[in-house]
């Protein structure tokens, strides 16, 4: 017992841990605590644990964390849970308790009510990692149980013949939400989700990440600490679209006049417009020719049933006489709309195009994406009929040209000066009650302050489309931190290895792919999703049992 330790005094050996883990040299306690937000130490890209301790902020830790807590985060968490990670080891930080909260707002504003069908196929199932049974089969079963045999047969024929012999099947938005709710309960989303607006993310000196987030909810009685920190080893981020996109002339108009009622974006709430039109009638100018424009036209044509004095001018930049070409194929066109069931050709999700894009260089990717993408809408018999009828009866007219100026007339109407293009160059003025900008959402990474800060602090590379560059397994290369890794998915990575990364199925693929990479790297608790595990987990899904 009293024998001397033979290793005593062998002082010149380096300790068996990383130097960064050594206790920092003793410092004097700061005269004043840092109460700035985000804390001053966040000025640096890498922060030590000691500095974090000095902040006097609540700090929590989980092995896995995802920022955004939308559908992209949900798919990632689902893949983790199915691959064996427990709820206590995952956190999802975001501003909507329901994973589809943000999506629902955008969808609702852009005229997809509960009973409408969205724009993805039967096997794009955020609630089911396997995509089977898809929404079509579930809907057929429901109809069949209710004795609606005709409807069940029609649906059956639809998934059988789509997209060539029939319109493409798409699920009802309310069915998708119900299914996601069910899966959220099954995987314990309630324990995983945490409210927070993430302000900044930094690397820690010990190979992890620290997330600084505020917990104050706008317009609510807030108690408890306003700011918190969360430490994590494996991080995922999917913050969706940063902002609404406005055409420059409309943006200018709104800034100059402060009029947010007559010029609206299709993705913001604009119900007042339909109410006004129903009561008083009037002319609406629609800009953009994608699926949202189709939905707006549908809504306006429905309003015409209440008030036939509603007219629509559809302003398009130039005519499309031919659809995009790729290889031996060409995209169909009718009534100035290019048709495609989803925003990319199907093969981009699961087939040869996905593989081709993955192995292409960034420049080739850009070229392929411009060939496959562009503004398209879905071919739906009801929409074709609306445009056909509108054009024939004259309450819907298409004008080609660029906007020179938008002005507000003294009586409140909007006057747009249009320069037409092509062989008949002329100037037109069009006076309308409302203008709806249906040209889309802003996707550039820099428009989200959190992403702008990350790009700035870590000099992250951008892809040719101005979004954050990711590896084929969706890891953000500049964020690797020892054994810590950060992954990203959704619109913030568009232009990378997966064309359809901003879609239910694309998010799911990104989730599975990154979780697989983590599993191969030996991440905590993760098990390989091989044949045995896949089948047993699917059976649990089918029985609504926890993973």
């Amino acid at each position: 017992m009293n024998q001397p330790n033979p290793h005593f005094n062998r002082v010149n050996q380096p300790p068996p841990w990383q130097p960064s883990l050594q206790a920092p040299a003793p410092q004097f306690a700061p005269a004043q605590r840092d109460t700035s937000w985000p804390p001053r130490c966040f000025d640096k890209p890498v922060i030590s644990i000691y500095e974090i301790q000095q902040l006097n902020l609540p700090v929590s830790y989980t092995e896995y964390a995802t920022v955004g807590a939308g559908l992209g985060s949900f798919s990632w968490v689902d893949a983790l849970r199915v691959s064996g990670v427990g709820t206590a080891n995952i956190v999802a930080i975001g501003m909507d308790a329901r994973p589809y909260g943000h999506y629902n707002n955008l969808a609702h504003n852009s005229q997809i009510p509960d009973w409408e069908r969205l724009r993805s196929n039967s096997e794009s199932t955020p609630d089911n990692l396997w995509g089977w049974p898809g929404y079509a089969l579930r809907e057929i079963w429901t109809e069949f149980k209710q004795g609606h045999l005709g409807k069940a047969t029609r649906l059956w024929w639809q998934i059988f013949g789509e997209p060539t012999l029939t319109d493409t099947y798409t699920p009802r938005i309310s069915d998708v939400f119900r299914a996601v709710d069910r899966e959220a309960i099954r995987i314990g989303w309630g324990q995983i989700y945490r409210y927070g607006r993430v302000r900044a993310i930094r690397k820690t000196a010990d190979g992890r990440y620290v997330i600084a987030y505020s917990t104050r909810r706008p317009g609510q009685n807030n108690t408890g600490p306003a700011h918190s920190l969360h430490l994590t080893h494996y991080l995922h981020i999917a913050v969706g679209y940063p902002a609404l996109q406005f055409l420059p002339d409309l943006q200018k108009y709104r800034e100059q006049t402060g009029d947010f009622k007559s010029v609206v974006n299709a993705y913001e709430n604009h119900d007042h417009l339909y109410e006004h039109l129903r009561r008083h009638g009037g002319l609406v100018m629609v800009r953009g020719r994608g699926i949202v424009a189709s939905r707006i036209l549908q809504r306006l044509s429905e309003e015409r049933q209440h008030n036939p004095n509603i007219g629509i001018i559809h302003l398009m930049r130039s005519p499309v006489s031919q659809g995009h070409r790729y290889g031996k194929a060409r995209r169909p066109v009718a009534n100035q709309f290019e048709f495609q069931p989803f925003n990319w050709p199907r093969s981009c999700w699961t087939g040869p195009y996905r593989k081709l894009l993955e192995k292409s260089s960034p420049e080739e990717r850009k070229k392929l994406l411009s060939q496959w993408g562009g503004t398209t809408t879905a071919r739906r018999q009801d929409w074709l009929e609306i445009t056909r009828r509108g054009l024939a009866e004259g309450w819907y007219q298409i004008v080609f040209g660029e906007v020179d100026n938008v002005e507000r007339l003294p009586e409140g109407r909007l006057q747009t000066r249009i320069v037409t293009k092509g062989q008949v160059a002329a100037q037109l003025t069009c006076t309308a009650e409302f203008i709806i900008d249906a040209t889309g959402l802003e996707g550039k990474a820099g428009s989200n302050p959190l992403l702008a800060d990350l790009i700035d602090k870590f000099a992250l590379a951008l892809n040719p489309m101005g979004r954050i560059q990711v590896e084929n397994d969706f890891e953000v290369p500049g964020m690797r931190n020892g054994t810590g890794r950060m992954y990203a998915s959704g619109s913030m990575t568009l232009g990378g290895p997966l064309a359809a990364v901003d879609s239910f199925l694309g998010l799911q693929y990104a989730a599975l792919r990154s979780v697989q990479a983590l599993q191969e790297a030996g991440a905590f608790e993760l098990k390989k999703l091989g044949v045995g595990r896949s089948i047993s987990q699917w059976l649990k899904w089918a029985r609504k049992v926890q993973p």
Partner: protein, 151 residues
């Protein structure tokens, strides 16, 4: 799922020699020893027919991939999948009846035996393509039907 050529070959081969094999063995039993629908002592030729369906399919798949290139979506609708299965069956049957398939001789009552055997294999393998294969191999649907693939 939008198939690649390798994916088509792998899915076809795997399904024929799992689901297809079980069905074939079943029919070999009931046509042979059990003797339903008249005696067919050479019922083992069903196994060879399965082999020829697979062999010819390798060629068919190359044709389908070529045709897929003309489709903007680059896809292959379910109706096509089921439809071409019938064409493939008719071609194999023709070769069978003309005795052009080495090792198998067409005999009395073979039309019905072929009809049931091929029909069942066609039905069930397509069903697996449509659904359950996704459960067994979670990466299958993202890789154009490749069974041996990572996610």
């Amino acid at each position: 799922m939008t198939p690649t050529l390798i994916g088509r070959w792998q899915s076809r081969t795997v399904l024929l020699w799992t689901v297809g094999l079980v069905i074939t063995l079943f029919y070999m039993l009931i046509f042979g020893p059990v003797g339903i629908g008249g005696q067919a002592p050479d019922a083992s030729k069903l196994l060879l027919i399965l082999f020829y369906v697979n062999l010819l399919g390798i060629g068919w798949d190359a044709l389908y991939i070529y045709l897929q290139g003309f489709r903007w979506e680059g896809d292959w609708p379910l109706a096509f999948q089921f439809g071409v299965g019938l064409v493939e069956g008719a071609v194999v049957y023709l070769l069978f009846q003309l005795n052009w398939l080495p090792g198998v001789r067409f005999g009395d009552g073979d039309f019905w035996r072929f009809f049931f055997h091929y029909g069942t294999v066609w039905f069930w393998t397509n069903w697996c393509l449509f659904g359950p294969l996704r459960v067994v191999f979670p990466g299958w649907r993202f890789n154009g039907g490749e069974v041996i693939s990572k996610i």
